[in-house]
């Protein structure tokens, strides 16, 4: 169930999600937060078992903090996605898989990046991505209107459109849309300087 989308732009990344948590044919919650901020530069959109995803997100948070304290500079988006994938892979190989598909979106020195991490431990870097039961519908929207040099504002609109379309036709998604924008680091610094 669920629809989540992630879009990379020249200005950063945008994540979008619906708010429905399904319990079989019952709507368990209408106000679920499926986008979790790890810090100001990284967030994860969650599809699948919420408890599993929460556990992984907490682990990555702890590992990121430790790594940064130890080595003195922050953990990149790619490294963070790898931390999540390692955890998923270990789970799979131990016959205790994490039932999740995560969109890891964040910014670092390289700019905005979107990674898809699934329960097999695979990670792929994407320009835009969607996951959850509504993803085929969301992909339809994304494929037809995504282009490389989008602004965050445009990406926000497209993310909203994609999730809204999925909510219309997918019974597993609904009850409103959340969107999170993470602007590139250089932009943040410039804004602070002014």
């Amino acid at each position: 169930m669920t629809t989540i989308v992630g879009i990379r732009t020249k200005e950063g990344v945008v994540l979008g999600s619906d708010r429905r948590a399904s319990k079989g044919f019952f709507i368990g919650s209408k106000i679920t937060q499926k986008i979790t901020k790890i810090d100001d530069t990284l967030a994860v959109a969650i599809a699948g078992q919420l408890s599993d995803a929460d556990y992984m997100v907490k682990l990555v948070k702890a590992e990121r903090n430790l790594i940064e304290l130890r080595r003195g500079f922050p953990v990149t988006v790619k490294e963070s996605a790898r931390l999540i994938a390692n955890q998923a892979y270990t789970g799979l190989k131990n016959y205790q898989p994490y039932f999740v598909e995560l969109l890891v979106g964040g910014v670092d020195q390289e700019g905005g990046q979107i990674f898809v991490a699934d329960m097999s431990g695979a990670i792929t870097s994407e320009e835009f991505a969607s996951s959850g039961s509504g993803s085929p519908i969301a992909y339809g929207v994304l494929e037809s209107i995504y282009h490389k040099d989008m602004t965050n504002e445009q990406a926000k609109e497209i993310a909203t459109k994609a999730v809204a379309a999925a909510m219309e036709r997918d019974p597993g998604s609904g009850n409103g849309i959340d969107v999170l924008t993470i602007p590139n680091l250089s932009l943040v610094v410039e804004e602070r300087r002014r």
Binding site: K58, A62, N65, L66, L69, R70
Partner: protein, 225 residues
């Protein structure tokens, strides 16, 4: 027969057991090693906690080891003794802080942190292993206010407003005790700790400092002035 143990009756082969005076030789030796470490000071009032540590000069092309460490956003620590042991203990504390966040979804309180470090150190005093030759001073801020702790190789921990460990720490703590007041400012505390280290060593020292205040509640390394 080996004579590494104390000269007591029937205890010449096991230096990790109690000596005849009821003291643990290995723990005493660890404290002795700490006493040879760089002079390190902690000062606390209700509004801030300051830790400062003397950086021993190295060879011209070698960078001196870092001595003030952030443990988590709201807490930092320093230490005196073998630098390798200090670094190990710092890492233990960092892991403890993250584990606490993982389990309870909130930052670790300073007493729990001191207690965990104490427990880690205590483990080395009950087995036939070498205790860690490092005393640690922890400065942090939690819902109970600004906190300052000292933890010793024996596992003993104290909370207080002024600590000194390392070389000539007796001289240093004397100076801190004499001039400490509850309404001392940060600038005065920096000066006081510098003076205490300087008096103890008899020379103008290079000092590294860290500060946490009740206001912004984040531990920061201070830029050398």
């Amino acid at each position: 027969m080996s004579d590494i143990g104390s000269s007591g009756i029937g205890n010449t082969r096991y230096p990790y057991y109690y000596g005849p005076e009821g003291r643990l030789l290995l723990v005493d030796s660890a404290l002795e090693a700490v006493g040879r470490g760089s002079t390190t000071i902690g000062i606390k009032t209700s509004t801030f906690a300051l830790i400062s540590s003397h950086i021993k000069p190295t060879k011209p092309l070698v960078e001196a080891s870092e001595k003030i460490f952030a443990i988590d956003g709201h807490v930092g620590a320093t230490g005196s003794g073998y630098i390798g042991d200090i670094l190990q203990l710092i890492d233990e504390m960092r892991i403890a802080a993250q584990k606490y966040r993982f389990t309870y979804d909130s930052p670790i309180d300073i007493k729990s942190l001191a207690r965990q470090l104490s427990s880690y150190l205590h483990d080395f005093t009950i087995y036939a292993v070498r205790p860690q030759a490092a005393s640690i001073i922890i400065a942090g801020r939690d819902p109970a206010g600004v906190q300052l702790y000292q933890v010793d190789p024996s596992g003993t921990y104290f909370s207080g407003s002024g600590f000194a460990i390392g070389q000539y720490s007796d001289t240093a703590i004397d100076i801190v005790q004499k001039e400490y007041t509850e309404d001392i400012t940060i600038a005065q505390a920096v000066q006081l700790s510098d003076r205490a280290i300087e008096k103890a060593l008899g020379e103008k020292p290079l000092v590294e400092r860290g500060l946490v205040t009740s206001k912004d509640a984040t531990f920061k390394k201070m830029v050398n002035s």
